[in-house]
Symmetry: C2
């Protein structure tokens, strides 16, 4: 899976960067290309706070210096013509523009976005586009922004793409891992340990769920009793991950808040989840707001079985075809594939 | 602080116990005496799910065999005459009776309860009485019930005392430690690690807050956004405890759900909390439903400073005297002081 160099764990900030060094010569180099992976957020109990990166699929952004100033052009491959082609409303270019603004660069930049993550799939596609855009712009300009700065820039892009303002997809897509994101003006990202063998199975059925609709369905309040279950389970899941206690992990991988309301948006969901558990998954649920369903498994063999069982259930219960992915937690996050 | 022998970590169950062995000879022995410690529940973000045991204060229950059958008498010391003297409505005797019922014992038992924990103080007094009653009855009868059984019996007693049906006070009072209690018909207790030096300061002002009133004030629903903060923080607090990351612990020691509504029940609360933080506490908040305020501190010196600062603030802001306790996490829980 190593397709390129990983990001430095903590690059230096931009405070001392010489603005003159941030200019790029128009057309003088081959593009900088960046891959940012899909992610599974929520993970049962952790609505808006847990997320993890997959190895694939992912979105790619290529940027190169051109004549002019700012984002001069945007071309999009994939996404069936439904990804915004206007740089002012595209997650990747908004994030890239935010990086350029932060670096004080007025370089001219041409952007190509290649969507590898299906639209409205619940796999963090907007987040991946935004992360790839931010990292690519920073690499092109030699900005050396640190992770927090890149996270903030990518969040601006993802907000445009999904309406969300939380980093549970952006953070793992950027830096990899299974993370806890603590809400705040600058979200705090806490990387969690994962037991050896932890493997994800994901089934993505051939329907779409719009993130905004899935959010509206939740309303603004929840029952206190459901809240108590939820914050007990997030605490327990973290303890389970630290202790490699699969029984505790399995016990806590459930969602008392969002899934009961969102399940109806995904035909066959209950049976698909049941199929994953029947195949030996420790837990299963909606990936983000769906329609993709994740299963968290102990070992690749179980995950492959769970993926097949979920695909079969989507077919049997709802007549839906589905793509499946089996992946460990991606520890790297966004990767520069070509340095230009 | 070692006042007696600790409970066995996991005693054998009662399945194979010979009922004949569970009779006690009336008046033949000195009483069995048990101490069960006070506890701090909620701990900021963990409403109804986190609790920890203090070394003191605590309640004591003495039981001895007498003529007759069942709980023959109950005497109560402490509590200003306001602790129920009817065995059918007292937390300690309900728990003891539940143990006797589970063991199939029709022995006659006299119970003495000595309240060391102030009433309606937010320090788990009903839970401690119930735990002491359950452990004492089991020890008197040689029942050898395991922790889960003792927890269930004590919960029946605490339900009578406080109306609550969650084990965030009973579990630490019984077995010690800083615990996560996962709700369920039989609550699952997960012991959490604590960083070296973790010390509690508690200030108990001279007022009372009735648990039932403090619960009613919460209503049945909470804002979704507050819920997200809360389950992010419980997850983060557990990660902080495992990593001994005091910065993360401090960040997560806040309550987005109950404290904002309950603070008004405790005059001067905001300033008392501020005083604890000003004295160097990592975090502070209501102990249970209050009025006691806890401060979680790194090291005894800081905790002593925080306790004094909280007491001074209660006096300055609300004209209230207060008792203070400084204690590490009690790792033992309930202790048999005399075996009869």
């Amino acid at each position: 899976m190593e397709r390129g160099s990983s990001l430095p764990a903590r690059a230096s900030g931009s405070a001392g960067t010489d603005p003159a060094a941030l200019r790029v010569d128009a057309g003088s180099r081959s593009p900088v290309r960046v891959f940012a992976p899909a992610s599974v957020s929520n993970l049962g109990c952790g609505f808006d706070v847990f997320g993890l990166a997959l190895e694939e699929p992912g979105d790619e952004v290529a940027v190169r210096g051109v004549a002019g100033s700012g984002i001069v052009s945007l071309t999009v491959a994939g996404g069936g013509g439904r990804v915004p082609g206007d740089p002012a409303s595209n997650a990747a270019t908004i994030a890239a523009q935010s990086v350029m603004h932060r670096l004080g660069s007025d370089a001219g930049v041409a952007v190509e976005l290649r969507k590898g993550i299906p639209l409205a799939s619940g796999l963090g596609g907007s987040a991946a586009s935004a992360v790839a855009g931010a990292v690519a712009a920073d690499a092109l300009l030699g900005g050396g922004l640190d992770r927090t700065a890149l996270l903030e820039c990518a969040l601006l892009g993802e907000r445009e793409g999904s309406g969300a303002n939380h980093a549970d997809n952006v953070a793992p897509s950027l830096a990899g891992g299974f993370v806890l994101v603590l809400p705040g003006r600058t979200p705090q990202v806490v990387e969690l340990p994962t037991p050896a063998g932890l493997t994800l199975a994901v089934a993505h059925p051939a329907i779409e769920v719009e993130t905004l609709r899935a959010r509206t369905i939740l309303g603004d309040t929840i029952p206190l009793a459901a809240g108590v279950r939820q914050w007990g389970h997030t605490a327990g899941l973290v303890a389970g991950l630290f202790r490699e206690d699969w029984e505790l992990i399995a016990h806590c991988l459930c969602d008392a808040v969002a899934e009961p309301l969102r399940a109806k948006l995904v035909p066959g969901f209950a049976k698909v989840r049941e199929a994953a558990l029947g195949a030996g998954a420790a837990g299963a649920g909606l990936s983000g707001s769906g329609p993709s369903v994740f299963a968290l498994c102990r070992g690749r063999t179980v995950a492959e079985r769970a993926a097949a069982a979920m695909a079969a259930a989507f077919c049997d219960e709802a007549g839906l075809g589905s793509d499946t992915v089996v992946s460990p937690v991606n520890r790297v996050g966004a990767r520069v594939l070509e340095t230009g």
